[in-house]
Symmetry: C4
Subunit: 230 residues, 4 copies
């Protein structure tokens, strides 16, 4: 199998995993992957039902959005993915869902505060919510600008330490070293968003010790990480 | 297959899809479809368990509610469906559920505010909640008047741009170009109602930029829509 | 099959339906049925795992709680069921669950207010919550007194029009003409409790028009009921 | 089968039961069991996907954490389990999950108050939440100190009467006479946490009669317990 075929298979399986994890309904959601050496991004086609979709339906484009291979139109969110790949050089996959609790925090216009180790195991700080876009931004190149505003929101934050964002009044984008890791981070974001919403209803003044945050993140991701089989 | 048989099959499958999407329990819920040229409406029979129901059990009536074909009594909500078909000339299907979060907003007597793009992708504005009915309306032709009050609520709103409503203290009705699209809009309404309830618990002062609303709705439904395979 | 065997089968199936509807976990919950002519009550055995339970494990007792047939000990809640059968002469089955939202309202010590037609279709008024029991009542014949306090709570209310109750700090009991109808009312109570909790979080000042309540209840249960196939 | 093989099988099945009960996702969660006579603890390996895990992957260690048998690294939470086994002499199994509602209460930094008989049937009092750990504790032997702080929280409480705890900003640990009973207590804790969160949203001033608490706990666990087949 060529590396393009292999990437199409990976991206297809990552898209199907969104369904398996209950993160998308209807035709919502999309996952992409990038072949950095070739400068090729593979992404879900737009609006195709998951139960009819096949690996060969995945669409290959270059980083300017020109189609390289595939019969179908790429996801309508493609331009957002491309901005993320250009700005965040270490990422290998991007996922976008309208998962229920992640979308609810985005609709509330609130970042998900870091108040638990479940969150700290994967994200080293709050999952930020982007600012409102202006009329000009919305009426211009909307999907590209959505990506630009995500990158602006990150500023000096390390996207490998906070592998996800809430787009205000919209929903989450997550990323990772591969399409599968981007999906895993969507799973974690939704669970953390759910725990956070319930915790907020119990106690709106949540807080968590910074030392505990750092410990949990580094236990899994620091130079001396000791979680897993190493 | 005659067009009536075909419509009965479509309506049956749309009713079963309500169960598959987890929107109804017991014998709750009903979907209908209309054959505009023939003036025939096909609807679920009243109170029949979903696991015993067959396509041939669907009941065909005319727009005045006279039975055209079928052995069973039509849904007790039939008169509401008929008012909607008469008032909203472009719709081809109507669905009614007591889906949990949609019904909760109706019990709260509140319209579902437009605060996210998931909502804006299918509904161009808030999903309105009807007014209280009077004693005379309730004790008169209740189901017909339920439809009249929905139509009154819509006033100048475009029912194809806001394909659903909450009947106060009751539950949602949705519609679309076909029975299947009416069901899809029930799925979206329930998901939007759930996201909205969680967002409301996080932040009761929700808002969304009008430009973003318009952008998302038009991306899928405007003259220059670019979502899907076109 | 003798009528006792038939009743054991009905009660067994009703108990298994609690599991199927997601209303019980572990060994929680119990359903019974009564053969009025014979004065025999058939009930689930105490603490037997659902996946090992068989129809022949159901226990038959008389209205004083003496065992008539069966090898196992009857449910620890048996005495509550017996009080209900003696006080509410028209009921043929009783169900008890710790269903999540029903139990939550009971823990909140609040009746479930009637604010929607889903509720009014099966219960003609609020689902009442019992009073606190005294120390003497709790330390005496606890399960029997639980039944007495339910009956006291009902006073002049018609138990066939309000086929369920919340025992304060405990959970729901429901009943109906048969074990299956008691289970159906547990399903409705849990759904109504869930809708009510979400509606309460959206708007704590809920209300519903009395005329609408009466209309919906009578549409299904009044002398001129017109729901279902008649 | 040797007793070590038998314990590995029990611990493996208890870990898989966490998945079956919906209490863990990804590689989260872990269960262990102890062979008291031999001083051997058997625990889940760290970070192994549940769908690839086999009974033979379970790791055997002594109470000082030295590996006795097994190819894989034990769970990163092993040191917490060992502290619990040393301090709580009657327990035979420990379970740790990030179950949604249990974790939410831990993130809220709140004990789960005893407000229902579902809770009282298994826990004789509130499920306590531990205190914040200090910087030194977090940066030192973190997992061991997590166990120490649980033991400190218990003080004079009887761990067999309150078989679980919330670690602040983290999640629940539960225990029992066996690995299976520890898992059962995780199931109960999550359900009680869910009921408690909903009850709290309905009425933040919850309370429950002490006599009722004692009655329910003793009905199942007291010297005159009468629940189950005895």
């Amino acid at each position: 199998m060529s590396s393009l075929e292999e990437m199409k298979k990976q991206v297809f399986e990552a898209n199907m995993a969104l369904v398996g994890h209950g993160l998308v309904i209807l035709t919502w959601g999309n996952v992409s992957g990038i072949m950095r050496a070739e400068g090729i991004v593979v992404i879900k086609p737009s609006g195709v039902p998951y139960d009819e979709m096949k690996a060969e339906d995945m669409v290959a484009i270059d980083l300017d959005g020109n189609k390289v291979e595939g019969k179908l139109k790429p996801s309508s969110d493609t331009a957002t993915h491309l901005v993320l790949y250009k700005a965040f050089k270490e990422i290998g996959g991007v996922a976008h869902t309208h998962s229920t609790h992640g979308a609810a925090w985005a609709q509330a216009g609130m970042s998900i505060p870091l108040t638990g180790t479940t969150h700290a195991d994967y994200f080293s700080d709050a999952i930020p919510c982007t600012r409102d876009m202006t009329q000009a931004e919305i009426e211009g190149e909307f999907e590209k600008t959505t990506g630009d505003v995500i990158v602006e929101t990150f500023g000096n934050r390390n996207p490998m330490h906070i592998p996800g964002v809430l787009v205000k009044n919209h929903a989450p984008f997550t990323w990772g070293k591969s399409p599968a890791e981007a999906v895993r981070n969507s799973v974690v974001l939704e669970e953390v968003a759910k725990m956070g919403a319930i915790a907020h209803s119990l106690n709106p003044n949540l807080s968590m010790n910074d030392h505990l945050t750092r410990k949990h993140f580094e236990r899994k991701h620091g130079p001396n990480a000791y979680y897993g089989q190493g």
